[in-house]
């Protein structure tokens, strides 16, 4: 420690020299350097690290605010990006609860000192269970991709099989995560999609189903926004080879879309971010997994599962870990996959969101989204040269085809940015066969005038382009 320090660091009370010296004396030392005697000199850095000088709180605030001021954000820009992270309405109470000091700084407390944390997460599990219509929900995992990966590994263990099938319409980034997580234990193969509708090609599915297929994974709505209405048939086909039907869902659609259990899903997964989490540059993601309350499913979860129990005093609710012995906390490499810090606070927040919205709110928000997205799609496809890539039903996202405008998506998005609009995600790199297409996301936050503004901007960009065919 520097001898010339004139004041204690606010975060380190025992930098007070008198206190430091008294503590050193108590343990029989005379200098701070002796504390690290266990580390050989050959491993010591023996120089000061080359880092920027320390700032006080005010300097830090100016510095960080200055950096963040370089960002343009979705509250002062009109944002149509989705593709796995979506801008939705966030009730103020969600922020109030997830900014509570107790929840922000809690971690691994016991069911007694952290009764509130256990109850809030049990309630989250219970509320989401009603939305997805299943009896078991986990303490949330990292994101949708991780939830899908674990669902596939659960199916692999349950069936003793090594192959999982998923449609080519799944987000390529999500597939990259699934592939990495499943390699080398399981093999991930694509099922083709119908080029006109974007739905699963059932003919191709039939050809790929066999006795090594552990699971078929599909989404509703899918990455490209499409509502897959062949769910019952897909589930029946995979059940026909004794495989597991896994469905990924956007939970904000479930006030209006049928929960997947009704069309045969055995495991449901998805992302909680739409249920009260700010986008946070992708930091709002949280994955959930839900199943029926059957031992063969429950015992395959790697996650914590909080359960309600009596206490020794009548009238008290207690909470604890269900089937803890399945986890890697208990069994290390012999546990189910691995568990640790994931996204618990977003689970609590999603519980607050569902408590606030209630059944009517979930139905209303789903209706609003689907009406507004269709309004936008209609306005956009009225523009000469602009069309929808797929026919058929969609929820909040849709693929816009710009091939006949003579402009690239990159060019269009650049012009939109000049007008304060973030255009849809450019799909041309991920799906080169489709040429210049973009994935637009419209939610309940967009007003009619926002959507009209987007359409007018696009119309003008396309119309003013001399090469338009």
């Amino acid at each position: 420690m520097a001898d010339n320090r004139t004041y204690a660091h606010p975060y380190i009370p025992n930098t007070v020299p008198e206190v430091r010296d008294a503590m050193l004396k108590e343990i029989g030392l005379t200098s701070m350097d002796q504390l690290h005697d266990a580390i050989p000199d050959s491993l010591k850095l023996n120089r000061e690290m080359n880092l920027p000088p320390a700032m006080n709180e005010y300097e830090l605030r100016r510095h960080i605010d200055g950096l963040l001021a370089k960002n343009k954000h979705g509250a002062d820009y009109l944002n149509f990006l989705g593709a796995g992270c979506w801008q939705h309405f966030i009730p103020a109470v969600c922020d109030e609860i997830n900014q509570r000091s107790e929840f922000v700084t809690a971690y691994a407390g016991e069911p007694y000192e952290d009764h509130g944390r256990f109850q809030a997460l049990f309630e989250y599990q219970s509320l989401l269970a009603e939305l997805v219509d299943m009896d078991v929900v986990n303490v949330p995992t990292f994101d949708w991709a991780q939830a899908a990966s674990t669902a596939i590994r659960m199916a692999g263990r349950m069936t003793g099989r090594k192959t999982a099938l998923l449609p080519r319409s799944v987000d390529p980034d999500k597939v990259a995560i699934i592939r990495n997580y499943c390699t080398p234990v399981m093999d991930i193969q694509y099922i083709e999609i119908d080029p006109a509708t974007g739905r699963m090609d059932l003919q191709d599915l039939r050809g790929k189903l066999n006795d090594d297929v552990a699971a078929v994974y599909f989404e509703n709505p899918g990455y490209l926004g499409i509502i897959e209405d062949q769910g019952a048939e897909i589930s029946a086909l995979v059940h026909g080879v004794n495989g597991v039907s896994i469905v990924g869902v956007d939970p904000i659609s479930l006030g209006v879309l049928d929960p997947p259990g009704r069309y045969g899903a055995d495991i449901i997964c998805g992302d909680l971010q739409p249920l009260g989490m700010h986008m946070n540059y992708g930091g709002g993601q949280a994955g959930f997994i839900a199943t029926r309350d059957e031992e063969k499913y429950v015992m395959e979860y790697p996650s914590r599962l909080f359960g309600i129990v009596p206490t020794e005093v009548e009238g008290e609710y207690g909470f604890g870990d269900v089937a803890y012995e399945r986890t890697s906390f208990a069994l290390r490499e012999k546990g189910k996959e691995s568990v640790g810090t994931q996204t618990a606070l977003w689970g609590i927040t999603a519980g607050v969101y569902l408590s606030l919205l209630g059944p009517a709110g979930m139905q209303e928000v789903g209706s609003t989204i689907i009406q507004k997205s269709h309004y936008a799609a209609k306005r956009l496809s009225d523009i000469p040269g602009v069309s929808l890539r797929f026919e058929g039903a969609f929820f909040k996202e849709f693929v816009v085809d710009f091939n006949n405008t003579g402009l690239t998506v990159a060019e269009i998005n650049g012009r939109l940015m000049e007008q304060g609009i973030f255009g849809g995600k450019n799909l041309s790199a991920a799906y080169p066969a489709w040429g210049e297409c973009a994935l637009y996301c419209v939610t309940e936050i967009h007003t009619q005038s926002d959507l009209d503004r987007l359409a007018a901007a696009l119309r003008s960009i396309v119309a003013n382009h001399p090469d338009r065919s």
Binding site: A38, I39, P52, V93, F142, S338, T341, T368
Partner: protein, 525 residues
């Protein structure tokens, strides 16, 4: 008035007890918590009803059975639950060893609530997020200096996910050299976090677990016997969860490298090492830091978080992508990784708020402050260690002498002499407003407890914790029943846990609880 005498040695505490119902019991038909944005009439007129836009077979026929609750009641309920939660802000949280529960600076919590952080979409054009990318890049540079590694990814969103990413990189590296099939073993130690072994197993590896020598060090001879042409990797923490620093670590990494394995470093226990010693000099090829531990981001009830993953230049091509770089024009860019990369482990760029918090924390300390952190963390720990060993019934197995930032202790003597176990003490500590944790499983140290005081607590804070443990030891020897029957001042009393492992009885949701405990309600439906 009379003088108020305050001479009690332990805090006279009672946890909040609101006797709060489960949220479904707050239901009142028709109440509303919030009204979401609606559809303009003109929009509805143009596109038609929701029902007309969804195929009939895909429409939800019955509304989800969520409760209907007014807004104030929802707020009050969750505020009460928060009060029934003992966050680290509320207590001297030195009882959660291995987790580095340090002070969470309020300025950092304010900074992350800036809409220029919260409202950023991860796919925005990079020119619209230059400030965010600069934060990522600056933290990368700081982490490189702290560790000696050459590149960092902040995509892994916990220590466990960083370990999974590292095991994935080990596999990709050996695959790239055509040795992937042959190298099928990863070596770890028993005093390391369970996720080290568990994540390597997720990646298909056979796990070899080394037990310590009699002084508590990882056993170099056992390592020499364990390595072979099948060795893919070696993963270890240093210090391990005992707080014992393995001074021969360079010999360990040399042995593994000689056998062709990759050495990866779990730096969850890095708080006593900042500015003192680094992964690079110890011979590691990769390491990760928990930003939510060492770098002062909060634990958030268990995430979201970040496991900052650093690698040497040789392993950089295997990192998950994209990576943040600074181009020649001074512009921050996202660079996609090539074919050799493991791909991705988490969507987008990880938990950006945590990246911002930890960058802010480093900027508030500088090089000198980070070294202060390491030194005071070790000072606090050795002060605590010195005092704990004076408590009747407590001991610290293995080598005598100094430890780094934490110690795994034992109550074996106390249990043998009084019958009071470390789990009993867990519950009793709640009665004094303090958190206390035992250890990961299996319990190699009998009747374990693991304390890590960090740099954040004052001498008086440490003394309060010590006095509580002394008090409980005294109770155990004089009136053990009060410890065994604890908690007495908590929100609730001891759980009846008999249902938690029984599929017929466990209740993971409220609807399962109603079905299993009140089947008559279901029949009425």
């Amino acid at each position: 008035m009379k003088r108020i005498i305050r001479n009690h040695k332990v805090r006279q505490f009672h946890q909040a007890k609101w006797d709060e119902p489960v949220i479904f019991e707050l239901h009142q038909t028709g109440e509303r918590g919030v009204i979401p944005p609606g559809t303009e009439d003109a929009v509805a007129a143009e596109v038609g009803s929701m029902e007309s836009l969804i195929p009939a077979s895909m429409q939800r026929s019955t509304a989800p059975a969520l409760p209907e609750i007014g807004q104030a009641k929802v707020l009050r309920h969750y505020l009460r639950l928060s009060q029934e939660t003992l966050g680290s802000d509320m207590n001297v949280e030195i009882g959660q060893g291995t987790c580095t529960m340090k002070y969470i600076p309020r300025i950092n919590e304010m900074l992350i609530r800036n809409p220029r952080m919260t409202e950023l979409h991860p796919l925005q054009d990079i020119d619209s997020v230059q400030g965010m990318l600069e934060v990522f890049h600056n933290l990368d540079l700081a982490m490189r200096e702290i560790s000696g590694m050459d590149a960092f990814s902040f995509q892994p969103s916990s220590g466990t996910q960083a370990l999974l990413a590292m095991a994935s990189i080990v596999r990709a590296y050996h695959d790239s050299r055509g040795e992937g099939a042959r190298r099928d073993e990863i070596i770890t130690t028993i005093f390391s976090h369970p996720s080290q072994a568990a994540t390597a197993a997720v990646k298909g590896y056979k796990i070899i677990t080394l037990h310590p020598d009699e002084d508590g060090f990882p056993d170099l001879e056992k390592l020499k016997n364990a390595v072979s042409e099948r060795t893919a990797g070696f993963v270890v923490a240093n210090p391990e969860d005992t707080g014992i620093y393995n001074h021969r670590i360079r010999e360990f990494t040399d042995v593994v490298h000689a056998a062709g394995g990759v050495c990866y470093y779990d730096q969850a226990n890095a708080n006593g090492l900042l500015g003192i010693t680094r992964a690079k000099e110890a011979g590691f090829d990769m390491c990760f830091f928990n930003l939510h531990k060492t770098f002062a981001a909060p634990h958030m009830c268990g995430g979201p978080a970040t496991g900052a993953l650093g690698v040497t230049e040789e392993l950089k091509p295997f990192l998950p992508g994209p990576l943040v770089d600074l181009d020649a024009d001074g512009r921050y860019v996202l660079t996609e990784q090539g074919e050799g990369s493991i791909g991705k482990v988490r969507s987008f760029h990880g938990v950006a708020q945590t990246v911002l918090r930890s960058y802010a924390w480093i900027m508030s300390l500088g090089a000198e402050g980070l070294k202060d952190v390491a030194q005071v963390a070790v000072l606090n720990n050795n002060y605590l260690y010195h005092k704990i060993l004076q408590i009747r019934g407590a001991s610290a197995p293995y080598i005598k002498g100094r430890r780094l930032e934490q110690v795994r202790y034992s109550w074996k003597q106390l249990t043998d002499e009084t019958g009071v176990t470390t789990e009993d003490i867990t519950r009793r500590m709640c009665d004094f407003g303090l958190h206390y944790w035992t250890s990961h499983h299996p319990y190699i140290v009998p009747q374990p407890f693991t304390l890590e005081p960090t740099e954040s607590y004052s001498k008086e804070d440490l003394d309060e914790y010590i006095q509580a443990l002394e008090h409980i030891s005294h109770e155990a020897y004089t009136y053990p029943e009060i410890v065994k029957s604890a908690p007495h001042s908590s929100t609730v009393h001891r759980n009846d846990e008999s249902s938690l492992d029984d599929p017929q009885q466990w209740c993971i949701t409220w609807r399962a609880y109603l079905k299993k405990t009140q089947p008559e309600l279901q029949e009425q439906k």
